[in-house]
């Protein structure tokens, strides 16, 4: 059965994530209310305005249930604003982030919109193409944050000018750029194959373990 991936749809480019997921055969579900979180195999927090999404997570009673599921092992991927919200330290953000990923993130850290940029980066963590090659990854940075510090257990998957722009911590993935804005779905494939399918328990499995039994 294809995995069901939630895309937080409070604000931002959630539609583009859903398009990428469906192109890879996954089921994408827009999440606006807490009850829609039930039965997910993974969750994506899209690009958007981190200030806005941080407020709406609280206002719509989604902050605690998303945090709790992430802590219990549900695979979650944050892109740009989503990466900011996953962090446990965001200077200047006047609402609590989800605090699931031990890193310090500085917002709008490359400047204002005129400083937004795109560039090709080496991406050794991504799976090879069917032809066996590993082409560079074209990354789009829009009012992007910078990861200023990583703490124990966080792996760097991709870097720009020696600074991390894609990191993994347990079942969490954070990218400061926007894979959903390109037709290159390799990061979505990475999320589905490595974090959702790859031995990290989905929410159903977590719930079963929590109930103390392995019976299906």
């Amino acid at each position: 059965m294809p995995p069901t991936i939630g895309v937080l749809a409070l604000q931002g480019d959630f539609h583009e994530h859903a398009v990428s997921l469906r192109a890879l055969g996954a089921v994408a579900r827009e999440i606006r209310k807490p009850e829609q979180l039930a039965g997910l195999d993974g969750l994506i927090i899209p690009g958007g305005e981190s200030t806005t999404i941080a407020r709406l997570l609280l206002a719509y009673d989604l902050h605690a249930p998303v945090r709790q599921r992430g802590a219990a092992g549900l695979p979650i991927w944050g892109t740009c604003a989503g990466a900011i919200l996953l962090a446990d330290d965001v200077p200047g953000l006047d609402r609590p982030p989800l605090g699931l990923l031990p890193m310090t993130v500085e917002r709008n850290a490359y400047g204002r919109q005129v400083d937004s940029f795109e560039t090709d980066l080496k991406a050794p963590a991504l799976p090879p193409t069917p032809a066996g090659t590993r082409p560079p990854y074209h990354a789009i940075f829009i009012r992007a944050p910078r990861i200023r510090a990583l703490r124990d257990g966080v792996d760097v998957l991709m870097a720009y000018e020696a600074e991390p722009v894609a990191v993994r911590y347990r079942s969490l993935l954070a990218t400061t750029f926007h894979p959903e804005l390109t037709p290159d779905h390799r990061w979505h494939r990475y999320f589905l194959e490595t974090l959702v399918d790859g031995g990290v328990a989905g929410e159903a499995a977590v719930a079963t373990e929590a109930a103390g039994g392995g019976a299906a």
Binding site: G48, T51, Q113, D115, S116, D120, I140, R143, L181
Partner: protein, 295 residues
């Protein structure tokens, strides 16, 4: 390693990040903070909201940079600001101030009666108004990275925004039934480049993000525009000319997120006090219709 800034991808990409959100007109830093608190995804920095521009008359121009700097300093969400149609120097000034998006707007008095700004010359992205598909695609051809309906700003009357959104979406649906010969002729009829008409047909939507603007005064208005296909909503006078701006701002944000949820729409529409006073468009002479500005 090639690093590119100011590309169409990063310009239209910022508009993608604003989708599903509400962009609010503000005239002071404290209003900008109220807007951000309520969950606005960006603010439009102005000297006067459109309903006051209507009342005061005279020439409406770009805001004083002092005010724009104050607003930029007060919030972390993107800040937009308006320039007069065709006034590329006002646009250069806003770019130098670090404004995140420039609105080449019919709400201000046009500086050029024939030509819009060549927006490809700028690193800062532009949003422009439209009444129909042809106008939208002409603006995109000039480099606009985001489109909004014109509606009729400062009236609190949604009828023109509905007319313009239906015109755009209806034309996009009609494209689906046209063959290549008809497409070329249609492009000529609506005064739009045929390449953009083809791309719109292929995408089955505008090639850039399309917000609703001009007359949104209630949560129901915002949800109506979302259901008609808007990617998000601009609210001008509708917030700070209402009886309870904070509650109205909060309610319009909720209605924009949950535009398909009737239960939530009913809740957020309750007890908001008076919306901004509205204008009946039959009473509005042609000379005062802002949507007719722009070519």
């Amino acid at each position: 390693m090639v690093v590119e800034t100011g590309t169409q991808t990063v310009k239209s990409g910022l508009a993608e990040m604003l989708k599903g959100g509400v962009i609010m007109d503000v005239v002071t830093a404290s209003q900008a903070v109220i807007a951000q608190e309520a969950g606005a995804c960006a603010v439009m920095a102005l000297e006067r909201v459109p309903s006051d521009i209507r009342k005061h008359g005279g020439v409406a121009r770009m805001s004083d940079p002092t005010k724009i700097r104050e607003i930029i300093g007060a919030v972390t969400i993107p800040v937009m600001a308006k320039v007069r149609i065709g006034h590329f120097v006002e646009a250069s000034i806003l770019q130098a101030l670090g404004v995140d998006y420039v609105d080449e707007s019919e709400v201000l008095t046009p500086a050029d009666e024939k030509l819009h700004i060549n927006k490809w010359d700028f690193a800062v992205p532009f949003v422009c108004g439209c009444r129909d598909l042809g106008e939208a695609l002409r603006r995109i051809a000039e480099g606009a990275a985001m489109i909004r309906t014109k509606g009729e700003a400062g009236t609190g009357n949604i009828v023109e925004a509905v007319r313009h959104m239906r015109a755009v979406q209806g034309a996009i649906r009609a494209l689906a039934g046209m063959d290549d010969e008809e497409l070329v002729n249609y492009a000529k009829e609506i005064g739009a480049p045929v390449e953009l008409v083809r791309e719109t047909k292929r995408l089955r939507r505008l090639p850039v993000v399309n917000f609703a603007a001009g007359g949104v005064a209630t949560p129901a208005d915002a949800a109506l525009m979302m259901r008609l296909g808007a990617d998000g909503v601009f609210v001008g006078s509708g917030i700070f000319k209402s009886e309870q701006p904070q509650r109205m701002a909060d309610a319009i944000v909720r209605a924009t997120t949950h535009y398909n949820d009737d239960q939530i729409l009913a809740e957020v529409s309750t007890g908001l006090g008076d919306a901004m006073p509205g204008l009946n468009l039959d009473d509005l002479p042609d000379s005062e219709r802002l949507a007719q500005r722009g070519w």
